[in-house]
């Protein structure tokens, strides 16, 4: 988990890569864990005006510690607005004002569509998870989505068990035809690489590979075919300042950045 330049965990690399997906002045939904740490890092570096929304019904919280989820009042502390689900998911998200949703997924397909509902067990039976909640609304109505998923062959799949959260649906232009606003998935962040999206096809393309990950490893752990440019860049590692912020200010208990 270390490079020649500085020792960092994969989680820390993902936090830094995730933070770079969030821009100053954006309105963002961020999922629990790495997305949240990434948002906190972005706010303390290049994006002080990044505003975080919480579907439970609040905006721009200033948490001083990490909690266990959206429903944990630790994540509500210091909010400038408290109201309802429809205030946030309606009057901001459906209104078209939300720039990005940074969401987890059970599975992601080659078009950046995501499953937040259920997977199939090895015995063929269905394993249900809690459900997508507002994640379909975010993926449907935000200007773009960043999806975070563990890089395994069974999670980066040709065909989703359940298309809960639309990315590019079945290709470029498909969202518009379906009646959806926004661009869908703009990147997929894994523990092995960062995918972007080819605007002409709507398909995921590897944008950068994490340090130490080989092309073969990437292909073997991805359930859909991927093209790898020969000069593929390496995901930029965390700077010393970023690591200090993560370790000393944002996640001193190392709840989310110890390992992925």
């Amino acid at each position: 988990m270390a490079t020649a330049t500085a020792a960092f965990t994969t989680s820390e690399l993902m936090v830094v890569a995730g933070a770079r997906e969030l821009h100053d002045g954006e309105l963002a939904f961020v999922g629990l864990g790495i997305p949240q740490v990434a948002a906190a890092l972005a706010q303390r570096t290049h994006a002080p005006g990044l505003v975080v929304l919480n579907e439970i019904g609040l905006a721009d919280p200033r948490p001083i510690e990490f909690g266990v989820g959206n429903a944990d009042p630790r994540h509500w502390y210091g909010a400038s607005f408290m109201g309802s689900f429809s205030d946030v998911m309606g009057y901001l998200l459906a209104r078209g004002l939300v720039d990005v949703g940074f969401l987890g997924a059970l599975e992601v397909d080659a078009f950046g569509n995501a499953n937040a509902t259920e997977v199939r067990r090895e015995d063929g039976s269905t394993r249900r998870f809690g459900g997508g909640g507002g994640s379909n609304d975010i993926a449907s109505l935000a200007r773009s989505t960043v999806v975070i998923v563990r890089h395994e062959r069974r999670k980066l799949v040709e065909r989703l068990e359940h298309l809960t959260n639309p990315g590019s649906l079945d290709g470029a232009g498909a969202r518009t035809r379906a009646g959806l606003p926004g661009d869908g998935t703009r990147s997929v962040l894994t523990d092995k690489c960062v995918f972007g999206v080819d605007p002409s096809s709507g398909r995921l393309v590897v944008r950068s590979v994490h340090p130490g990950i080989t092309a073969d490893e990437l292909r073997a752990s991805t359930g859909f075919p991927i093209d790898l440019a020969p000069d593929l860049p390496t995901t930029a590692p965390p700077t010393r300042e970023e690591l200090e912020l993560i370790r000393e200010v944002i996640d001193p208990d190392r709840r989310y950045t110890r390992s992925f």
């Binding site: 629990l32 919480n54 579907e55 439970i56 019904g57 609040l58 001083i64 909690g67 266990v68 989820g69 959206n70 429903a71 944990d72 009042p73 630790r74 509500w76 502390y77 408290m82 109201g83 309802s84 689900f85 429809s86 998911m89 309606g90 998200l93 459906a94 509902t117 259920e118 039976s125 269905t126 394993r127 249900r128 998870f129 809690g130 459900g131 997508g132 909640g133 507002g134 994640s135 379909n136 609304d137 449907s140 109505l141 989703l160 359940h162 298309l163 809960t164 959260n165 639309p166 649906l169 498909a174 969202r175 379906a178 009646g179 959806l180 606003p181």
Partner: protein, 296 residues
Amino acid sequence: MTKLVPLGEAAALIHDGDHVALGGFSITRNTIALVHELVRRKVRGLTISACVLGIEADLLIGAGCVERLVYSGGSLDRFGQLGRVNEAVERKAIAFEYMSGLALTFRYAAGALGLPYMPIRSMLGSDLLPPLVAAGVAREERDPFGGGPLVLVRALVPDVAVVHAQVADADGNARVLGPRWDNDEAVAAARSVIVIAEEVVDAEEIRRLPELTLVPSFRTSALVHLPYAAHPTAVYRRYDYDADHLRLYAEATRSQRAFDDYVDRYVRSTDHASYLAAIGGEAKLASLAADSRLGY
């Protein structure tokens, strides 16, 4: 006119086969004591609904009270999954309508506005939509003003909405602090409303800042005054969630047998007072008290 009644009397307003909109969101402001009472009363055949389910739903489903579930998500946050909910859905042991959170909120809103449906642009192109269309609770239509496709989601009118409030007056005006998720719409849509309040204050106190009233008295059918009625979930500005008990619950709900043991110990053989004693009593409750500055 006072709306104050004992817990049992409020629970008796919920009949077999009713549709109950649950007020909690994951590990926050669940109407636990009321749900315990429904489990003890062996209510059957309920439809339950909520945007984001918590222990409320898991207890009712695990205890066999539920026939139909209308929801968009739910969990114990990082403590774990709602084992009884997920297993019931996996096994199709109950009927369910699964949709996006905004779609469910809009279905309540349509019910609350006396409308047959609300338009929405969520769920287009996803696997969420076809089962809802098949069930007759959603349609895909074109915007008659010349725009593109829209989903129309059908109104939802619960028989009873249950909601936990920090404060109420005896008339049944209930104040909620903090975010309100789908409470506004669910309460407004429901035919009757049961409020569980941590504290009952003078009417003057509510009327001093009526901007914070979630349920006006004339919408409240019954008010129960019961401190710690949301334990082990959090009540903003009152008490934190009980992490120990949530861990215990998360473990128990992984299997029906462990769940049944949990229910025997903490629900069936208790009333609210003995439940609070069983989870650690006053020492535990004191440890959960919210910091007045932080709110948790």
